[in-house]
């Protein structure tokens, strides 16, 4: 029997995907504004983030309504609580894009410190993880979600590598400190985006399998709601 409730869940899913698409785009746009030294583009990022914030509120209200009115059980319950958490993650992705856009605006008026290679690469990786986490969400594909979690390290490594490089710039020439610190912050923001993509992937595993994998909970006794 097809349920009216399924249409409501589909509406929630569509809204979350809209939000995810915007979050991914705004990260790319923030790094683009950094690369092109384009303050106007950075300005757009701030406006885009406001829209993401507004979608988050709509999704939150939708989730609360469905929890109150439909008394969801089992996979429906995990889906709605999962959407609630994922929308929170995506909202924070938008905030990181705003941070990056801020750095872009401050750097746009200074001479370039170095050609940007690692930062765009980190952005591609983080945005890719975000996109794939949402794909896994759509398909409720726990296996794909687990592969995303294992890729977080790649971004962490790039972040550490870039940090060392920027520290050496600062040691050599103290006049680079302000600019190098901005780039450290940008990298740090991108590293956090990858973490949030990881969180989303972990939520997908929970929705699909009712299994908690975050904080390495799966390696501890008593996961699986004490059922294992």
């Amino acid at each position: 029997m097809e349920r009216h409730f399924d249409q409501e869940l589909q509406g929630l899913k569509d809204a979350l995907l809209t939000m995810g698409g915007r979050a991914e785009a705004v990260i790319q746009k923030s790094v683009e504004s950094l690369k092109r030294r384009d303050s106007k583009l950075a300005e757009e990022v701030i406006a885009d983030d406001r829209v993401i914030d507004r979608i988050e509120i709509e999704i939150d209200e939708g989730c609360v309504s469905l929890l109150a009115l439909r008394q969801p059980m089992a996979v429906d319950l995990r889906f709605i609580t999962g959407v609630l958490k994922i929308s929170n993650d995506l909202e924070r992705v938008g905030d990181h894009a705003v941070n990056i856009a801020g750095s872009a605006q401050r750097l746009a008026v200074e001479p370039a410190l170095k050609p940007l290679v690692d930062i765009p690469r980190m952005a591609d990786l983080a945005a890719g993880m975000l996109r794939e986490a949402l794909d896994a969400f759509v398909r409720r594909d726990a296996a794909a979600a687990r592969r995303i979690v294992s890729r977080d390290e790649e971004v962490d490594n790039l972040n550490r590598q870039l940090f060392r490089e920027l520290v050496s710039y600062m040691i050599e020439d103290t006049r680079t400190i302000t600019r190098a610190m901005e780039l450290v912050l940008v990298a740090r923001n991108l590293e956090r985006v990858a973490d949030l993509a990881t969180n989303i992937a972990e939520e997908v595993v929970f929705i699909a399998e009712a299994r908690i994998i975050k904080h390495h909970a799966d390696e501890r006794v008593g996961n699986d709601f004490g059922r294992s």
Binding site: R3, Q10, G11, I55, E61, S65, L69
Partner: protein, 294 residues
């Protein structure tokens, strides 16, 4: 203030807005709601309405100054603890209380722009247009076909072909046709409880009512049969105005667009269901729906 900064703007999520039970919030309307209290009047045409409607069973007052408007083609739930007057109010809409000796009413109760209390009201015609489904499925001890055709025979003046056509379409709309199409001549009493209830709904639909009153329509049914009735209600509201009395708050939350909460014969709160169950204005409503009393 740009629209971007508005308290609530659409961000291109028609799917979410259309799919979710929570109505898109209209800030101006909400402010009015806060200032003027319960939204007793509803946008668009009301199918049924009461104003300061009171009802007495002899010396006992069962309803006190109830005022509300029930919008067309929607589901309105009336909830409240036993004895709160919810069934009495429901039965007032097609004057089923007339059959109880010593009943007296005051105030106004209207259907299709007419005062139902007027002595000129044709009660038989009223009950055709405002049908009713009861707690216990009550099929007649006749065949499935004759149960649905019963009201049509009563009306008279209808040929066999027309009756057959109406029986089939009523059974289809009641989501029962596929289960009974090859045994229409069997006794209705052989059907399961859930099927019997859907048959009673089909019988009600056959005479083409505008409003369907349901008094605890699923409380005698198992969870699966209940879910089917609930899905059916959600289908039927496209064409009919439905008023459901239920002591099952979760059911009210699942199927209704608006919810009225009653206590000791008074209407405590009446609003969009999404508001009543997530942010009721009245403390009494909150206490009831959170299980603190009742």
């Amino acid at each position: 203030m740009t629209s971007e900064e508005g308290a609530r703007v659409s961000v291109g999520l028609p799917a979410l807005a259309a799919a979710l039970p929570r109505p898109a919030r209209d800030v101006a309307a909400e402010a009015t709601r806060l200032v003027e209290g319960p939204a007793a009047s509803v946008p668009g045409d009301a199918a049924l309405s009461t104003r300061d409607f009171s009802l007495f069973y002899g010396p006992v007052q069962a309803l006190t100054n109830v005022s509300l408007e029930i919008p067309k083609t929607s589901v309105t739930a009336i909830i409240g603890p036993s004895g709160c007057g919810k069934s009495t109010l429901l039965r007032s809409f097609n004057r089923m209380n007339d059959m109880i000796p010593g009943v007296r009413t005051e105030g106004e109760i209207r259907f299709a722009e007419r005062d139902l209390r007027a002595s000129s009201t044709d009660v038989v015609e009223l009950r055709r247009r405002v049908g009713m489904v009861f707690q216990r499925p009550n099929p007649f001890p006749k065949s499935i076909f004759d149960n649905v055709a019963f009201g049509l025979h009563m009306q008279g003046g209808m040929g066999r072909a027309e009756i057959e056509r109406r029986v089939e379409s009523s059974l289809r709309r009641a989501a029962l046709w596929d289960e009974v199409r090859d045994r229409l001549d069997r006794s209705a009493l052989q059907l399961s409880g859930g099927q019997q209830q859907r048959l009673c709904i089909a019988r009600c639909l056959a005479v083409e009512p505008e409003v369907i009153l349901m008094d605890e329509p699923a409380s005698a049914l198992d969870p699966t049969a209940t879910a089917r009735i609930e899905e059916l209600v959600l289908e039927l509201k496209r064409d009919y105005t439905i008023v459901v009395v239920t002591h099952n708050m979760q059911q009210a939350a699942r199927i209704s667009d608006r919810t009225a909460f009653m206590l000791t014969g008074k209407l405590v709160e009446y609003d969009e269901t999404a508001f009543v169950f997530t942010s009721p204005k009245e403390k009494l409503t909150e206490d009831y729906i959170t299980g603190r009393f009742g």
